[in-house]
């Protein structure tokens, strides 16, 4: 287990990158605590897998250093870094038994056979595969194979970190719940530093203490799940997290009010922005309240998805989504109000603090660029 420092990491797959656009990873400078559970969340091509491979040593960064517990490991191989990685598609050694699969990394490191046996048995217990120890790994189901991949990491109790690259892609929804909560319990019990890469917000938010949202090679926000949800620091985070994503409307700001078309919305605090900046108001569908008073909307679709309903409507000609509880009613002449708690103001896509907001804002980390 180790603290991981990413020291001004940049990476390009081109041999002589010139412009910023040539970099798959623009600049990542951050410290990850020992024993933390982190998620890298973003759409495909955002650089999250590149960053993961930089940490594991499968990719050597073009610029910058990576340190484990203060020791520079930039030049070391994956094996020397002593990390474990679980891939998108389960990697198992087909011809070996489940037991031998788990023993493989230990035998490669010349552990004594009785110690191998002890550790493997212990790990099999941990991942609930003791019954299958003597079976050939080839015939197992996807989730069992993925557990073996995980087990090969856990079996080395001294690993610096366990890295996950979209590990639940091939797993059925019901099994995902089981694996996710097992992973969570393992993390709580053994305190490995874990880094989890995914494009699935539910997986990222439920797994991690801290989620880093990546977009076009940069980390746009690092925060706890509730920070990302309540106070997205970039409109991309607002869009990417939450289903449906945040409603974002172009508005004209005047201190503590925002003008949206012909409507005026009171803000919970005042804000000043640079002249000429693109100003927007963001509010999540969860904070849009349907009622008989407020801003008038026209509803064009209601999606009943069981535990709640998604109302698709238009406000001043702009698309709007609102969430209504399972048995909530939809008025005939619908109006909406925004819960002041859920109002965010953006200038040039970055979130602005509202002065005089009646509650405190803590812990929102915006990475320095």
């Amino acid at each position: 287990m180790a603290r991981i420092d990413l020291d001004h990491i940049r990476h390009s797959y081109l041999s002589s990158p010139k412009t910023d656009a040539d970099f798959a990873l623009k600049e990542v400078h951050h410290q990850w605590d020992d024993g933390g559970a982190y998620a890298l969340l973003g759409p495909s091509g955002c650089g999250k897998t590149t960053l993961l491979n930089v940490i594991s040593g499968l990719v050597h960064p073009s610029r910058g250093r990576i340190l484990f517990d203060g020791k520079d490991v930039t030049a070391l191989t994956p094996e020397q870094r002593n990390i474990a990685q679980v891939f998108q598609f389960p990697v198992i050694y087909d011809t070996m038994t489940v037991f031998d699969n788990l023993a493989f990394p230990l035998r490669n490191r010349r552990f004594a056979e009785d110690e191998v046996k002890r550790k493997v048995t212990e790990t099999l217990e941990m991942i609930d595969l003791s019954d299958l120890a003597d079976k050939k790994a080839r015939g197992l189901t996807a989730d069992q194979k993925q557990k073996i991949s995980l087990g090969r990491g856990l079996v080395r109790s001294d690993v610096n970190a366990i890295l996950f690259d979209e590990p639940l892609t091939v797993i059925d929804p019901h099994m995902k719940w089981v694996l996710r909560s097992q992973l969570k319990q393992l993390h709580k019990r053994f305190g490995h530093t874990m880094v989890y890469v995914t494009h699935d917000q539910t997986e990222a938010l439920t797994f991690a203490d801290k989620v880093m949202v990546m977009y076009e090679g940069e980390i746009v926000q690092i925060g706890t799940p509730s920070e990302l949800f309540e106070r997205p620091s970039h409109t991309f985070v607002g869009y990417f997290i939450g289903s449906p994503g945040m409603n974002v409307f172009p508005v004209a700001l005047d201190s503590d009010t925002a003008r949206l078309g012909s409507q005026t919305i009171d803000l919970p605090g005042s804000v000043t922005t640079e002249k000429g900046a693109k100003t927007e108001l963001g509010v999540r569908p969860e904070y849009v309240q349907l009622g008989r008073a407020g801003l008038p909307i026209t509803i064009h679709a209601v999606e009943d998805i069981g535990r709640h309903k998604i109302v698709r409507a238009r406000l001043e000609g702009l698309d709007l989504a609102a969430i209504v509880p399972e048995h909530g009613e939809i008025p005939a002449d619908p109006h909406i109000t925004f819960d002041p708690k859920g109002i965010n103001i953006y200038a040039n896509s970055w979130r602005q603090d509202l002065r005089g907001r009646p509650w405190t804002e803590t812990g929102t980390t915006r990475p320095g660029f």
């Binding site: 759409p43 495909s44 091509g45 996807a142 059925d172 929804p173 019901h174 719940w177 996710r180 909560s181 969570k184 319990q185 709580k188 494009h199 699935d200 917000q201 539910t202 938010l205 439920t206 797994f207 706890t224 799940p225 509730s226 990302l228 949800f229 309540e230 869009y239 990417f240 997290i241 939450g242 289903s243 449906p244 994503g245 999540r284 969860e286 999606e303 009943d304 998805i305 069981g306 535990r307 399972e326 048995h327 909530g328 009613e329």
Partner: protein, 368 residues
Amino acid sequence: MLELDGITRVVGAHIHISDVSLKLERGTLNVLLGPTLSGKTSLMRLMAGLDKPTHGRLTFDGVDVTGVPPQKRDIAMVFQQFINYPTMTVYENIASPMRVAGADRKTIDDAVQNAAELMKLTPYLQRTPLNLSGGQQQRCALARAIVKNAGLVLLDEPLANLDYKLREELRAELPRIFAEAGTIFVYATTEPSEALLLGGNTATLSEGRITQFGKTIDVFRQPRDLITAQTFSDPPLNTIAMRKMGTSFQIEGGFDFTVPPHFGSIADGAYVIGFQPHHLSLTRASAPSAAIKATVTAMEITGSESFVHLRYADARWVMLTPGVHDFDVDAQIEVFLDPQLLLVFDSQGRSVTNAHPSAAQEALHGTN
């Protein structure tokens, strides 16, 4: 209309599809929902004519098509993998089914432009598929299926290999596209939430059998049996054994409910109750709710909601509750459950809730 009549398919000693009868109307979207290996793909292959049923009949608009090979059926299919002609441009890919059918240039161009517009592919028409992102490639495959204007369009987990956010966007668009096309759509998925977002009708599959078929939201709210309820819930349905004694539902481990009126007529005896994760709450929402003491086994926070994994007696439950809560693992907490919201299954797993569906519905709406 596509009609499956007692379709069974046996391969060697394995029953892939067991006695499936279904009627799919034109202009409908039909979701096949079930876990991997439940028979979704097998059933689609039978509908497409890629496989032949061991028993049973398949009719299309009243015409028996059981032995007709796929190329002679009026179908289009989209797979989980993005399948396009790699050397053709997107335009040519979308146009290909019409070229085969021998349509004239003008008709083809109109149809392709139209489909590209629908699938937001207009800027990419002159590129080849391998230069596109996964989402664009799959939209190209979908556009081709739509242009073909087939009577039956089969979609086998078409969004499974796409990014979460893209999936969400396409899911929102697809029902609209389906509604415009006016053909029979069959859509296979493993995800209950996808079925709910798509709407339409849903057939739940388990071990090669269709356990229920009906309007998606009805199947979700009023599952006919325990297997259907379990198939159609994500997070998994919470269950526990229950004994009905006179006017009370007694739950193992201690708590009990007063029998809600719509269950009044069921006989005394052993049952299983099921309830959705979002029906457990941290506060008493209604007077008849029972308080249950359970142990926290894990916490998951999504930002707006929390999943609390619980252990109660031998059962493992998940509670989905709004807001951010962080309970310690192994903490004892009190959660509430409204008996009006229960699903009750008899010893054979059949739902007894449906005995009085109208009463159940009224009871549900009465809670607001």
